[in-house]
């Protein structure tokens, strides 16, 4: 019996993008169910009554919630390209940095975008980004996962793509090459990986989406 895989999401969300990257990395066929924040589908509310958010992965009718939980689930169910390291200690490190993205980086990036680059918000985002910059510097690898992308790279998609789109949409600067040379280099490599390229919304669409959502005129 063939697997039935559906992903409920919106293309403007970096959290949904994490799940899309994982699915594409494993070469999984799935159906994308586009949600509308102002009119959430009955299915979304049924499968995620607790948070009512995207992404929601449905695997043979079973719902999996929260982007990082979804990515780990995808890695455990489908073999092929590994997303998490095998070693218990390396796995714990990967989970730590992925959680750091969720708890510190993404909220800080969101604050920068929603405040249109307010000084304090940018300073806080820089503080968070500096930890990741140092991690890349210390390890000296192409990706957080080493020679290949892993859970941390997937978790950090908002840095590689959403920051740039927001900078263009709102006329702000967040990730300067001068201040964050390693992250800039990592971003350039990362968005050009095939699985990642296939997962990203076209930049002009994302810029338009961010302009509309965060426009000061509204």
């Amino acid at each position: 019996m063939a697997d039935e895989v559906k992903l409920h999401g919106v293309t403007g969300s970096p959290f949904v993008c994490r799940a899309v990257i994982a699915l594409n990395l494993k070469g999984i066929n799935y159906e994308f169910v586009a949600e509308d924040f102002s009119n959430k589908s009955a299915d979304l509310l049924k499968y995620n009554p607790v948070y009512k958010k995207v992404p929601v992965l449905l695997h043979n009718g079973n719902p999996i919630l929260e982007s990082l939980v979804i990515v780990e689930y995808i890695d455990e169910v489908w073999k092929g390209v590994p997303i998490l390291p095998q070693d218990a200690y390396e796995k714990a490190q990967a989970r730590f940095w992925a959680k750091f993205m969720d708890d510190k980086c993404d909220p800080a990036i969101f604050k920068v975008i929603s405040s249109h680059g307010e000084e304090q918000a940018v300073a806080e985002a820089h503080e968070a980004l500096q930890f990741l910059e140092n991690e890349l510097k210390v390890k000296g690898n192409k990706y957080f996962g080493g020679d290949n992308i892993n859970l941390v790279d997937i978790a950090a998609i908002s840095i590689a793509y959403w920051i740039g789109a927001a900078e263009e949409a709102l006329g702000i600067e967040v990730l300067s090459k001068h201040k964050f040379p390693k992250l800039t280099e990592w971003s350039d490599n990362y968005v050009n990986c095939q699985a990642v390229k296939d997962s990203l919304p076209p930049i002009e669409n994302l810029v338009a989406f961010l302009k509309k959502r965060f426009s000061k005129a509204e």
């Binding site: 919630l65 939980v69 218990a88 200690y89 714990a92 730590f96 959680k99």
Partner: protein, 216 residues
């Protein structure tokens, strides 16, 4: 990896997050050295081992640090293979375990914090908020003995330390509002690893009173 040697836990007796790790280590029968940290005077070791957050708990295994309590619990399960398993073997149930452990962090901890920081009428409202959160967990528990699958694991470990705080603050009436969860608390407390890892509610109450007296 069955090496029990060289396991250090940087901890704080009152921390629910530290208690999670203590429970996991006790469940696995891992011998370790517990080092009590003082949040007002953090040791150089803590700052070196957790430079990002500078917080406990930190598990140091053969000199290498693991941080973040739910991540440490999963690490303990993966580094020490003896039973019991702290996560189910089925990937879907594992995802559920992670989801509910994360829910405890996002909802129970946040709701709980508001109660400890308020008084009087405002506190009553915050207690009601927490009860609503606990009702969601009551729903997840259903007729099962534990939160996910049939065995005690990550999600239970994430939640059970909070039960001491509910008890310490009394008048929460968990038994009436969430009877299944109340029964689950008793079931978990029957496990030696849990009961010996958690402080008595009276100590928590004393600790909180002292903090309030000191204006914290």
């Amino acid at each position: 990896m069955d090496d029990d040697d060289d396991v250090i836990l940087l901890d704080l007796w009152v921390s629910v997050f530290g208690q999670r790790v203590r429970i996991a280590l006790a469940e696995k029968g891992v011998h370790y050295e517990n080092r009590e940290e003082n949040p007002q005077n953090k040791t150089p070791l803590l700052l070196e081992m957790n430079p990002v957050h500078k917080k406990i708990p930190v598990l140091i295994h053969q000199g290498k640090p693991v941080c973040e309590s739910n991540i440490i619990v999963q690490y303990i399960d993966e580094a020490w293979h003896q039973s019991p398993s702290l996560l189910p073997s089925d990937p879907y149930l594992r995802a559920q375990a992670r989801l509910w452990a994360d829910f405890v962090d996002k909802k129970v901890y946040e709701a709980g914090k508001k109660i400890w920081r308020t008084e009087g009428g405002e506190q009553v409202a915050k207690k009601e908020e927490l009860i609503e959160v606990l009702k969601v967990l009551e729903g997840q528990l259903g007729e099962k003995p534990y939160l996910v699958g049939g065995s005690f694991g990550l999600a239970d470990i994430a939640l059970i330390p909070f039960s001491v705080w509910f008890h310490a603050f009394g008048k929460m009436n968990i038994e009436r509002e969430c009877p299944k969860l109340a029964a689950w608390v008793n079931r978990c407390m029957e496990r030696e690893a849990v009961s010996k890892s958690l402080p008595h509610p009276h100590k928590i109450y004393e600790f909180d009173q002292k903090k309030k007296k000191n204006g914290q």
